[in-house]
Amino acid sequence: MALKLPVPRRREVPGVLASFEHIDAACDAIRTLRKQGRRNLTVYTSHPNHEVEAAVGHTNSPVRLFTLIGGLAGCTAGFAMTIWMSRDWPLVVGGKAIGTVVPYVAIAFELTVLIGSLVTFLGMALLTFPRAVRKVAFDRRFSDDLIGVFVPASVSETDKLSDFFRRAGAVEVRNA
């Protein structure tokens, strides 16, 4: 019996989906669409590509903020935990002071990396998952070798967009 886990209800987005074989053709089409004022494009590739990134015009991902906040939180938690716990039950070991910072650097460092990594993972999930819930048209071949460009559009716009994509070199165009 197939495994069934709860999947969030998806909201369908109407539009036109074009498939390209050639990266330059796809990027030219993306740039033209952006010049026409269409910003809400979705471009599918099987791997990250700098040309596509440049054509879509992405800015830096805010995921770095998650890494920074997670790392700082881990470091603070590491020092706070060790110093507080040492003072909570003062146990003299080897004649050393109760709250010594140097040996606690090892714990604080490990927690910096641990919390920083987990929060980075969480940040990536939070930044991408809400969009994944939107049901935007997709084709399995995009994870193989085709490049997909999806443009959200009303029914009245679809013919015009389909013509544009065919002229731009798309190997397949369909309404979604």
Binding site: L3, I23, H47, T82, S86, P103, F121, A132, D144
Partner: protein
């Protein structure tokens, strides 16, 4: 369709790369099943031994005062070390943008996770009352006691726990796009599993934008982590006053040794695995040549470390240090001491020759020597140092028993079992990173500008 010369004698298209990797997930061959049954058999030996230890206590193992750290702690350090090459290849070489890592990093990353999982068992087995191992963790308890954070043993709990969690996170994270690619071709239970694991991945520009940055930051966090973990393990020894342990060279010496042992295990696993999974064209001489060069580098670091240890023992004028090192070479454990030096410092020097680096049979034999040598290195450091501490009348030796060997065999079974199951269930070669190296086809017929 664009192709790429990916190492010698290979030109593949994007679609062919997916097909090649998906083919590794097809029904298993007899060779694979034989290896899996062998691993499960070894694991069962370890499990039975562990049950006996739980029932009767650690008396079965070959502990003998003053040697109260022996084979189990040797195994612990050995397995933690194995994991280090995986993180070096997957994270550090990623930051260096080293192209040859792409074909081998997934396998080495999986090796890291399973090796650290294996290592984590040994402190628990070693403490004797395994059912209260959680006393090591800082949690509110009825006695208002907290762990002693000045102890390197507690640092170790945090270091190993963090290493296991972050390595698993890095492995699962890197798998997302590849699992999605396989999902789009899979059916049945595999499709259900991959659909859940890929978290709705479609390869959209927005997903790649966040994924690429997050992967970079995870690699940046893993890099100092891998250096810290074996340094912390080395401080388990170096923070004490036992002769031959109390040295400042221990942290870099352990990290170099860990990477060396991990590279040995990578070659031991990958040379037969590429044949069993029929991916010889994806993991070829080009990759093994580079792995061998790294092995040579770390072998030289070990050669230097061994030389320095002996030099410093002599130069210090400290009788206890000098005696310990003299007995390491000519005392009751001379055979272990020389096995370590020959297998690690000397055998690795054969890798100066390109003919040996590109001959997989030679590499496989050398990798076995490395595994043996690195296990003995830890045995020598732990057992030979403890066997002759400061008071000569207390000097003694150990005779490892069936309980020591049973657990050692079980650890290999436990590790190999998980590794083999992983290799058949998930893409063992990173699909998206190999595709990234192949120029995308162009209408105008020019080569891709993407690196």
């Amino acid at each position: 369709m664009a192709t790429v010369a990916y190492g010698p004698n290979l030109t593949r298209t994007h679609a062919e790369i997916t097909s090649d990797v998906v083919a590794t997930l097809s029904p298993p061959s007899r060779g694979y099943l034989a290896a899996l049954f062998g691993a499960v058999g070894l694991f069962l030996i370890g499990l039975i031994t562990f049950v006996m230890l739980l029932k009767d206590g650690l008396g079965h193992a070959g502990y003998n005062p003053p040697i109260m750290w022996s084979v189990y702690i040797t195994n612990f350090v050995f397995w933690v070390g194995i994991g280090h090459a995986g993180t070096l290849i997957s994270a550090i070489l990623y930051l260096f943008r080293s192209p040859w890592r792409t074909a081998v990093y997934r396998a080495t990353e999986a090796m890291t996770v399973f090796a650290v999982m294996t290592a984590g068992l040994f402190p628990i087995i070693h403490i004797g009352r395994q059912w209260i191992f959680y006393w090591l963790l800082p949690y509110p308890n009825a006695r208002y006691l907290w762990p002693n954070f000045k102890s390197p043993l507690i640092w170790d709990v945090f270091a190993i726990g963090t290493y296991l969690t972050v390595s698993t996170c890095f492995l699962v994270f890197g798998l997302i796009p590849d699992v999605a690619a396989v999902r789009d071709r899979a059916t049945g239970w595999r499709r259900a599993l991959y659909s859940q694991m890929s978290l709705g991945w479609t390869g959209s520009d927005n997903q790649w934008r966040h994924f690429s940055r997050a992967y970079l930051y995870l690699a940046a966090l893993c890099t100092p982590l891998v250096l810290s973990v074996h340094s912390v393990v080395s401080w388990d020894f170096a923070m004490s006053l036992v002769p031959a342990w109390h040295g400042t060279i221990f942290a870099p010496y352990f990290v170099g040794g860990a990477i060396y042992s991990g590279l040995g295990m990578v070659m031991t696993l990958l040379i037969p695995l590429r044949k069993v999974l029929k991916i010889e064209h994806l993991i070829n001489d080009y990759h093994f040549d580079n792995l061998a060069k790294l092995t040579l580098l770390t072998g030289c670091i070990l050669f230097y470390s061994y030389s320095m240890e002996y030099f410093v023992a002599w130069y210090s004028g400290n009788t206890f240090e000098q005696t310990t090192f003299f007995r390491r070479a000519f005392g009751p454990y001379w055979w272990a001491g020389w096995t370590m030096i020959i297998c690690n410092a000397l055998v690795s020097q054969l890798l100066w020759f390109k003919k040996i680096r590109t001959n997989l049979t030679s590499l496989f034999v050398i990798s076995i020597f490395i595994n043996i040598g690195m296990w003995f290195e830890r045995f020598v450091i732990i057992v030979s140092s403890l066997s002759n501490e400061f008071i000569p009348w207390a000097w003694d030796g150990i005779n490892p028993t069936w309980a020591d060997w049973g657990i050692l065999a079980g650890s290999f079974g436990w590790f190999l079992m998980y590794f083999l199951l992983f290799a058949r269930t998930f893409p063992i070669v990173a699909i998206q990173e190999i595709k990234e190296m192949i120029p995308m086809p162009r209408r105008k017929g020019t080569a891709g500008g993407h690196h």
